[in-house]
């Protein structure tokens, strides 16, 4: 492992890659700060640039953008109560009240130190967890991979929240359907191409990601214009941030919160589908309970603990979400799904063999996460007052620029104008589905995993002489499928079971 770390350090610390991670953090912070644009859009906008780079540099740039976007999202949460990313919604609970009290600088500093600590602790965990899991997963067969992909997709739906499971599952199936467009790889048969040459290679994942995230988010911002109140808050936010210094007592109060939230965040991030949003809410809730009645009352009114917990957890979860991606080749979130797409387009198959076949990529990404956190702390924190000025760029200018960069990013990869028309169609469809409150991330995850899932299922059937018995005969495959079923059905069944138990206890009470 030491050799691997040194290899990673050598690659990640090269001048080009240091530049990449710095640029990534910086650009990510900018984009993440724009309300509505999350890390998926930020990474999607970067992909056309990464095509000219070697895989390690490209992935390092994207990892930097990911961290930067989360940090940028925290900034807009704290300054204007408008989280750029779902993972930073909980940050606004206490960050914005602090900013209202004239402690915006302090809140930003707490966010930065917590993010740094969370990211760093999680990077150390990743250093040990990823190679161990990768060695174990070398024993996995295509049947297990198929089951793992089913688990990944169902987990995303299961974590979608109460009342949204069916919608998330439906969007996953929709994404899987889109992935079947094009030429079937093993039989050479065209599917759903309508005889159009432009569809023979299928729909490009970059096109779909840009259209359903960057373009549709920009169009949603056009549909719902900012109120006067929002605009006033944005102007006020940049005027005076106040001191960024923390007292020794505040650091002492933060330290145990950061430690606990980092561990919780990392392990939540590892779970497919859970991600930064759930991690931040879990950490917030846990700390509120642990704070006791006195300190617990401060939550929601500018509590240091309430700000440190979600900030630590969301960054730790970002590192955690790389574990299934790097070791199993299965993305646990929309953001890592888009990174998987980028890796595949480099011709690199993430999975257990990644750290054997491409140790440079594997280790440099892990090491660059630590470097990215350091850069976020030493570069972004002092620059925040200046970066925050992006909030002052009028939407009249910003929106057409986002549309331009999204369209041109896709066009410059294929030089096919049909792609621009297709992006508009997908963006309109995505806006419609967003208005109907259908989630987009499961669709993207389904799209990216669709091809791999079909390929593994086909291979599994060939190995098992066209018999489906592998689903129940191979213990590992069966266990993974059972876990998937549990994850999916337990949240659906539990409310009914609880209601039944309550009714039974009521009946027993009446009878007694």
């Amino acid at each position: 492992m030491l050799d691997g770390i040194l290899t990673g350090l050598q690659t990640a610390a090269s001048p080009l890659n240091l530049l990449m991670v710095t640029a990534g953090c910086f650009v990510g912070t900018f984009i993440g700060m724009l309300p509505g644009l999350g890390p998926i859009s930020a990474i999607a906008l970067m992909i056309p640039i990464t095509y000219g780079l070697d895989p390690a540099s490209g992935l390092i740039l994207m990892a930097g953008v990911y961290y930067g976007a989360i940090f940028g999202g925290s900034t807009s949460s704290i300054l204007i109560n408008a989280p750029g990313v779902a993972g930073t919604v909980a940050t606004a609970f206490d960050g914005y009240p602090m900013a209202r009290k004239g402690q915006a600088g302090k809140a930003l500093a707490i966010a930065a130190y917590s993010s740094f600590s969370g990211g760093t602790i999680a990077a150390v965990f990743l250093l040990f967890a990823a190679p161990s899991l990768a060695s174990v997963s070398l024993a996995f067969q295509s049947t297990d991979y198929f089951a793992l992909m089913v688990l990944g997709l169902t987990a995303v739906a299961a974590f979608a929240g109460k009342g949204n499971i069916t919608k998330a599952l439906l969007m996953t199936v929709f994404g899987l359907m889109l992935s079947t467009v094009g030429t079937d790889e093993t039989q050479g048969v065209q599917r759903f191409t309508f005889g159009a040459m432009d569809l023979i290679d299928g729909i490009s994942f970059l096109l779909l990601a840009m259209a359903t995230f960057a373009l549709s988010e920009a169009l949603m911002a056009v549909l719902k214009p900012k109120s006067e109140d929002d605009r006033r808050r944005e102007m006020e936010a940049q005027k005076d941030l106040g001191s960024m210094k923390l007292t020794a007592a505040e650091v002492r109060e933060m330290a145990p919160v950061v430690g606990r939230s980092a561990v919780l965040g990392f392990f939540t991030g590892v779970l497919p589908g859970a991600g930064a949003t759930i991690a931040s809410f879990l950490a917030y809730g846990t700390e509120q309970r642990l704070a006791g009645p006195e300190k617990g009352k401060e939550f929601g009114h500018g509590s240091i603990r309430g700000l440190a917990a979600p900030e630590t957890a969301n960054n730790a979860a970002c590192s955690g979400s790389f574990v299934p991606l790097l070791t199993l080749g299965i993305p646990g979130s929309g953001t890592t799904a888009i990174m998987l797409g980028a890796l595949l387009s480099y011709g690199i198959q993430p999975g257990p063999r990644l750290f054997i076949d491409n140790p440079g990529v594997f280790w440099s990404v892990i090491v660059s996460m630590y470097i990215g956190n350091v850069i976020l702390l030493i570069l972004n924190l002092p620059l925040i007052p200046y970066i925050a000025r992006i909030l002052a760029v009028p939407q009249t200018i910003l929106i057409p620029m986002i549309l331009f960069f999204s369209l041109i990013g896709v066009y410059f990869v294929s030089f096919n104008t049909f792609d621009i028309q297709m992006m508009v169609i997908f963006a309109v469809g995505a806006v419609l589905l967003r208005l109907l409150a259908f989630p987009m991330a499961p669709m993207l995850l389904g799209f990216i995993l669709g091809g791999m899932m079909e390929e593994n299922l086909r291979r599994a059937l060939i190995i098992n002489d066209d018999s489906w018995s592998f689903l129940w005969e191979r213990p590992l495959t069966l266990s993974i499928l059972l876990i998937a079923a549990l994850i999916l059905f337990v949240p659906m069944v539990m409310p009914h079971v609880r209601r039944l138990l309550v009714r039974r206890s009521e009946t027993a009470g009446e009878g007694g």
Binding site: G52, G163, N164, T166, K167, L169, L170, V173, F174, L176, M177, T180, D184, Q187, V189, Q190, R191, F192, L219, V222, L223, K224, P225, P394, Q395, T396, I397, I399, P400, M401, L403, F404, L407, I408, Y411, F412, T417, F418, I420, Q421, M423, V424, A427, V428, V431, L432, L433, L435, L436, A437, F438, G450, E454, L457, R458, L461, I462, D466, S467, W468
Partner: protein, 151 residues
């Protein structure tokens, strides 16, 4: 009652049924008729899953808190979509500099920007710098001029 979940389910059901109908058009070789896995297997399974999930959502939709769409700028969003389509049609014959410049200017105007100094001082440098970056620095050739000016 028709709430947002049901409208979405109906739209996706229509899509799924169309997808399912097209599944039968996927050609199969004669010896594949009895095969356990063909190019149709996954699309057929997805159609069944899609129809099932749409029906579940239609029968048991979630609680919709309802969202007022009053004040939404539909016209502005539609105009931006139209400009994007036109940009797609003109970027090649019109050349990158002219078509992109016009696209950005049209976008700014649609968004309500009327300060011409700001419009031009943003659009022109962005287009020229982006073109220079791609062609001179990254070595990607992009035709700058419209067809009638090309030699």
């Amino acid at each position: 009652m028709l709430n947002r979940d049901r409208v979405g389910a109906l739209l996706l059901l229509a899509f799924t049924l169309g997808y399912g109908a097209l599944t039968f058009r996927i050609p199969l070789l004669p010896f594949q008729a009895q095969a356990a896995f063909t190019a149709r297997t996954v699309p057929e399974a997805l159609t069944l899953l899609g129809v099932g999930l749409c029906l579940i959502l239609l029968i048991k939709p979630g609680r919709d808190p309802g969202e007022s769409h009053a004040g939404y700028q539909w016209g502005r969003a539609a105009a931006l979509c139209a400009v994007m389509v036109v940009y797609g049609l003109t970027v090649r014959p019109g050349g990158f500099l002219l078509s992109t410049g016009l696209f950005l200017i049209a976008g700014f105007l649609i968004m309500g920007e009327r300060r011409w100094v700001l419009i031009l001082s943003t659009a022109i440098p962005v287009v020229v710098l982006f073109w220079a970056l791609m062609t001179q620095l990254l070595g990607v050739f992009i035709e700058p001029w419209p067809e009638f000016l090309r030699g």
